[in-house]
């Protein structure tokens, strides 16, 4: 398994488009499995760290000795979209289950962090992110990679193929915009 995914990843980074088609279901499957495992065990209000999840999937799927470091960024690039889908689905399901009992949240902050702890409404974030992407698709992608896959500024730049400075600027303005959109929707 590890071998297959590593090779697919290498082929895909090397420009083989078909490899991605084969790679997606494998990565998605693993992410889903891990996410379910973690989410099932979450007590309400407990944390789910999507970054940690993707890291874990990466360690499980990829043969660490044969992987080029750039491939890591590409892997995370694929995983970002999926993890977003998984988290949003999960939050939606939760929401329905609670039947209007207020928006379900997946806390991104570590439970140990006290200051500025803020539960995030993933569904609302997803909506806002969709709106942002219509204004500026690249910014949407940057948020996906930074937030859902936990890529650093540099890694994000690597995946999209733009400069870190641009990523940083886009990231900061995107955050401001999303923050404002979400605070608006917070209001009654």
């Amino acid at each position: 398994m590890a071998e297959d995914v590593t090779q697919l990843l290498a082929r895909w980074s090397g420009g083989d488009k078909e490899a991605l088609d084969q790679l997606m279901p494998l990565v998605y499957g693993e992410l889903r499995r891990l996410a379910n495992y973690h989410l099932m065990r979450e007590k309400p209000g407990h944390t789910l760290q999507s970054t940690a999840l993707v890291h874990e999937a990466f360690l499980r799927l990829i043969d660490q000795r044969n992987v080029q470091w750039q491939n890591r960024a590409h892997f995370f690039g694929v995983a970002a979209q999926m993890i977003r889908r998984i988290l949003v689905d999960h939050a939606r399901a939760h929401q329905t289950a609670k039947r209007g009992g207020g928006a379900a949240t997946v806390a991104i902050d570590d439970a140990l962090q006290i200051s500025k702890k803020r539960d995030l409404d993933v569904v609302a974030l997803d909506d806002a992110l969709n709106s942002l992407a219509t204004l500026d698709p690249q910014q949407g992608r940057i948020v996906e990679l930074r937030f859902f896959a936990g890529l650093t500024i540099e890694e994000t730049a690597e995946v999209i193929g733009i400069s870190p400075a641009t990523v940083k600027r886009d990231w900061n303005t995107a955050k401001a915009w999303l923050y404002r959109e979400l605070s608006r929707s917070d209001q009654p």
């Binding site: 760290q49 470091w69 750039q70 991104i108 570590d110």
Partner: protein
């Protein structure tokens, strides 16, 4: 809000957030130009920005303050590094309180393997007791499953910081550095290699004692105990301190630490690092580390280096914290210290100091004015090494050039001083000359093929010119040597700025080099007419024609070149080389007609060129001759396309693309062919667009994109590559606009924009660059097209904002007389669409 508004808001937000409060209002007034809605939007986002700093940012490093690890309780974060975070912690037994540092590794490392290697090494690591080595007390796994290490807590500053802050002189720095060497030697004698020596791993206490941190930790991180260029390795190491064998993924030994000590000493003495690795790609970093020779410490201190947008290392900044005066510092460094540092930094591990103790001792000798053991690499050694390579490498070239300059000066001096030994000196002189030529002729071609070799090539050009100028002044009597010199100047000129090849973008420098070459050859021809010399002169004329700024002088050169070639071809009918030669002369001449605006005449000449190139390739069959045929086809295709003969154009372009594709397949490592291919594809796209076949055109441009992007990213300093990449996006944007896909079109233009002008819009408004004006107008066009289709007033408004911006750049250019008549049409279009004031 629409996408175009968002772009304005976004840029303004970014700029405004960096302004002082009182500047902000004025800035926003200017940017929003009376649009209250935009202004309100920006205001609201500015306040959101203040609160959103932590929003969506990753979780804090784990574990956090208050958590207990074994007997220790975390009290504060000290800092974060490549492999994890370091915390201050306290042992809270009731008995006593001891402060320690705890390093928790990042997620993503292979926990189980690290922990098991730690168990295996623990004994050895714990047994290291040395006043200059930070102790390692313990290790384990956090509740989250991350490995951690408990270490002695060192209160201090990094080695470089400490020395700079205290304005340590060179001697003081050397004394401190010797303590570091002694600590490393102590560990080596226990068979512990550090593998990650760098200033941040050497803290100096307030009392001035250096303490080495992280001994042995690197090994625990690496699979199989050997450092391999895996993700783990790169994430962990600061590649600038890594040795050639490390970046090659070879097993490491104590000599690896000697190398890193060399890097540290280099930085300590000069404030510069031997290499600034700008590329994040491992293989490029590896190429530099393994192949480029560092500059001598005594000369690097004269350099100004931009290490970050806000951080410049200047001769002044370096000298002021060392010896005060630059000259003094240079004198101190040159000679023995240069030799010592460079010996530690040798690529070949065998030729470095054999131990840290030996390095330390050599420094001791220097401090006591005893002769040091380090010697500069000797000329015969370098020359031999150089000659023995069949495929020339960067390292060989750098060595050879440095050796040549030195060797030549030596030979000349010797010739002057010792008449009796004249013959011997002359022989040496000739050897040097031969080496120089093989270097200049073979090396450039090899290096130009490597991606990302810009810096190395700049260095080579500088050295080569230095060498040539000195040779020229010594050798006017020897006609053979004169011709060789001319060839060499030509080569250097090519590298400096020959369009169509990878070059450094220095056309003025290229022109000068070509003129030197031309002058030399004209002189030789006057004294001894000959076929070969004529040919050489024709080549120079071609070059002069291409790089010459004034069109009329270029025309004269091109015509003279074609005359020589026709004459030579007539003397040798049927010879493929003379066809090739006439072909390339015609190429340059056609170019001149294009510049004069006589397209039909240009087409006529290009068709003649096609015939010559085809004949040449039939005989020669070399990749170069085939490439030339493709070039000829492309030039005819482009001309036909301009004249509106689209079917003809497509026919020629298709043939060109087929040849280039074949060459790309045969020579996948040669970027030149990929670049060639991209031109054929983009010309096809251009033609299809003009034919109204927009979807097809788009497909062609999309095939161009990955090639251009690859080129641009491979070498961020290659301005032509950046420009070509950006232009491709701009074309795609234009076509998308034609297709009515407005938002995609704008996105494509934004890409074009970001690539060429990463500084963003704010900088552009002040620009005096006609291309900026054009791209700004492109934005306007797309929105205007949208308005024409949808009659959406907002699009018109937006279009005008862009046109306004474009127009103000045009106006600035007009005011300074910097706007060529070629743009009259574009300017008119922009102004037509602006409301009359």
């Amino acid at each position: 809000m629409n996408a175009a508004d968002w772009q304005i808001v976004k840029e303004a937000l970014d700029t405004a957030s960096r302004l002082e409060p009182d500047e902000k209002a004025a800035y926003l007034d200017r940017i929003c130009q009376g649009r209250a809605d935009l202004r309100a939007e920006i205001q609201s986002l500015l306040s959101a920005q203040e609160e959103s700093e932590d929003f969506l940012e990753g979780p804090p490093p784990e574990p956090v303050i208050g958590v207990k690890l074994g007997a220790y309780r975390i009290t504060a974060l000290i800092g974060e590094g490549g492999m994890g975070s370091v915390y201050r912690a306290v042992r809270d037994d009731n008995s006593y309180t001891q402060e320690v540092a705890v390093k928790v590794l990042k997620r993503g490392m292979d926990t189980a393997a690290v922990v098991s290697r730690f168990r295996a090494e623990r004994q050895i690591l714990a047994s290291m007791e040395h006043p200059n080595i930070g102790r390692l007390f313990d290790g384990g796994t956090t509740p989250d499953g991350l490995p951690y290490f408990v270490m002695e807590l060192i209160e201090g500053a990094s080695l470089t910081e400490f020395c700079d802050r205290n304005r340590f002189s060179i001697v003081e720095r050397l004394k401190l550095f010797r303590k570091v060497c002694d600590a490393v030697d102590y560990a080596h004698r226990r068979l512990v290699v550090h593998r990650d020596l760098k200033p941040s791993n050497i803290l100096v206490t307030a009392a001035g004692e250096p303490k080495l941190l992280d001994f042995g930790i690197a090994k625990l991180m690496s699979p199989d105990g050997a450092l391999q260029p895996t993700m783990t390795f790169v994430k962990m190491m600061t590649p600038e301190y890594a040795s050639p064998e490390q970046v090659r993924g070879e097993p490491v030994a104590t000599s690896t630490d000697i190398y890193s000590l060399g890097v540290i000493l280099y930085e300590l003495l000069t404030g510069h690092r031997p290499y600034r690795l700008t590329s994040r790609l491992l293989h490029e970093a590896a190429m530099v580390i393994c192949q480029v020779e560092p500059e001598k410490p005594s000369s690097v201190v004269r350099r100004t280096e931009e290490v970050a947008p806000d951080l410049r290392i200047t001769p002044d900044s370096v000298a002021s914290v060392r010896e005060g005066k630059l000259e003094r510092l240079q004198r101190r460094l040159s000679g023995d210290l240069d030799n010592i540092v460079l010996k530690a930094l040798r690529k070949d591990a065998q030729r470095r100091y054999s131990s840290a103790a030996e390095l330390s001792e050599d420094i001791w000798r220097y401090l006591h004015q005893l002769p040091v053991r380090a010697r500069p690499d000797s000329f015969p050694y370098r020359a031999a090494k150089f000659a023995s390579r069949n495929r020339l490498s960067l390292a060989a070239a750098a060595l050879a050039v440095a050796g040549l300059v030195g060797g030549l000066a030596f030979a000349v001096r010797e010739a002057r001083i010792a008449q009796a030994e004249r013959q011997r000196a002359e022989r040496r002189f000739n050897d040097v000359r031969k080496l120089a030529n093989s270097f200049l002729f073979e090396f450039h071609d090899e290096v130009a093929k490597l991606s990302g070799s810009m810096t190395a090539r700049e260095l080579v050009v500088r050295k080569a010119l230095q060498y040539l100028d000195s040779l020229a002044s010594e050798s006017s009597g020897d006609l053979e040597l004169q011709r060789e010199l001319a060839k060499a100047y030509q080569r250097v000129g090519d590298v400096q700025g020959l369009a169509g090849e990878a070059n450094l973008g220095d056309t003025a420098g290229a022109l000068k080099s070509y003129q030197k070459a031309g002058g030399i050859l004209e002189d030789v021809l006057r004294r001894a007419p000959g076929k070969e010399t004529k040919m050489e002169l024709a080549t120079i004329y071609d070059r002069l024609a291409t790089v010459n700024a004034g069109p009329d002088r270029g025309f004269g050169y091109a015509q003279r070149s074609v005359d020589i070639r026709r004459e030579l071809a007539a003397e040798a009918p049927g010879d493929p080389k003379s066809h090739a030669s006439l072909g390339s002369g015609l190429w340059a001449l056609a170019q001149q007609y294009v510049q004069k605006g006589d397209i039909r005449k240009a087409l006529e000449i290009r068709l003649a060129m096609v015939r010559e190139m085809e004949l040449a390739a039939e005989g020669l069959k070399t990749p170069r001759s085939r490439r030339n045929v493709a070039l000829a086809y492309k030039s005819v295709g482009a001309t036909e396309s301009k004249l509106g003969n689209f079917q003809n154009a497509l026919q020629y372009l298709r043939r060109a693309v087929a040849i280039d594709e074949q060459l790309v397949r045969e020579y996948p490592d040669d970027v030149l062919h990929r670049m060639d291919l991209s031109f054929g594809l983009s010309d096809t796209g251009y033609t299809l667009r003009r034919m109204g076949k927009l979807e097809e055109a788009l497909q062609y441009y999309r095939r161009v994109l990955p090639i251009r992007r690859e080129m641009a990213e491979a070498d961020p300093k290659d301005h032509r590559a950046q420009r070509a990449h950006s232009t491709t996006w701009a074309r795609i944007g234009g076509i998308l606009g034609d297709l009515g896909r407005t938002s995609e079109a704008l996105e494509a233009l934004r890409q074009a924009f970001r690539i060429r002008w990463p500084g963003g819009l704010a900088a552009l408004d002040r620009a005096e660059d006609v291309e900026v004006a054009e791209v700004l107008a492109d934005f306007g066009d797309i929105l205007f097209q949208d308005y024409e289709r949808t009659r959406n007033a907002a699009s018109l408004r937006q279009a005008r904002v862009w046109y306004q911006r474009s127009d103000s750049v045009f106006r600035r250019l007009e005011a300074t007389g910097g706007l060529s008549a070629v743009y009259a049409e574009r300017v008119r279009l922009v102004r037509d669409r602006l409301p009359r004031s």
